[in-house]
Subunit: 139 residues, 2 copies
């Protein structure tokens, strides 16, 4: 792992949406806005196993997330690394992402892996090992 | 051309930054936050010819831009299509992008193509022919 500094971890924790990019089968970038949470130096995104972003991540083993602030000058950075699809022990991270979406103080009660499997929910995890396009982060 | 509706054109005009994605030589997505302006169904971004995003666009002929609003529920969409690097007649679009960056009412006086070439400025143009990952756009 590498690339994440305390300042970048704080930046990640202060925000909650980013643009996920994966590579399509044709080698083209595929982008969508997603909510995320940070777990140490991994970024966790709740998605469904049948979504193209999940299939891309499984097939290529790589993804990146671009996060920017909401106001000018829009501090931003892109976090990239090996990506995998998790289906075990995902109750708590899924609940944390749901908390971000609902914008509430406490996460909802975690669902079991079995219950999440029934609704096709998985976690796309990026192990950040590269940070690029860092802008307006101060110092 | 296809994919852009009046509602999506209005959404693009109401915002000014997005996350540009191109494919690296290794086939990995490369993302960075950029200012843009819309010209009919093209999205125009000011960059430098030596930037990796410009090299990617020139080599692959493709790029996408993910644009999101700044407040929950973060309406967003991804605009993709053939991409090219322009070096002629770029004074006006470059001035329009600079206006977005400076957040002022009027664009600065346009520079000549020659003056822009001296500072390596080019326009990366995406001809939008695909819109995906549209979220929270009302309707």
């Amino acid at each position: 792992m590498g690339g994440l500094t305390d300042q970048l971890r704080e930046f990640l924790d202060a925000h909650r949406v980013g643009v996920l990019a994966t590579a399509s089968k044709a080698g083209k970038p595929r982008q969508s806005v997603v909510y995320y949470v940070r777990d140490a130096d991994r970024l966790l995104i709740s998605t469904m196993s049948e979504r193209l972003k999940a299939k891309d991540a499984r097939r290529t083993g790589w993804a990146s997330l671009s996060v920017r602030a909401d106001e000018q000058p829009y501090p931003s950075a892109t976090f990239s690394g090996p990506a995998e699809i998790l289906t075990e022990n995902i109750g708590q991270p899924t609940a944390r992402v749901m908390q971000q979406i609902a914008d509430v103080d406490e996460p909802p009660d975690p669902l079991s892996d079995e219950a999440l499997a029934e609704i096709d929910r998985v976690i796309l995890a990026i192990s950040v090992d590269r940070v690029s396009a860092v802008t307006h982060m101060g110092e």
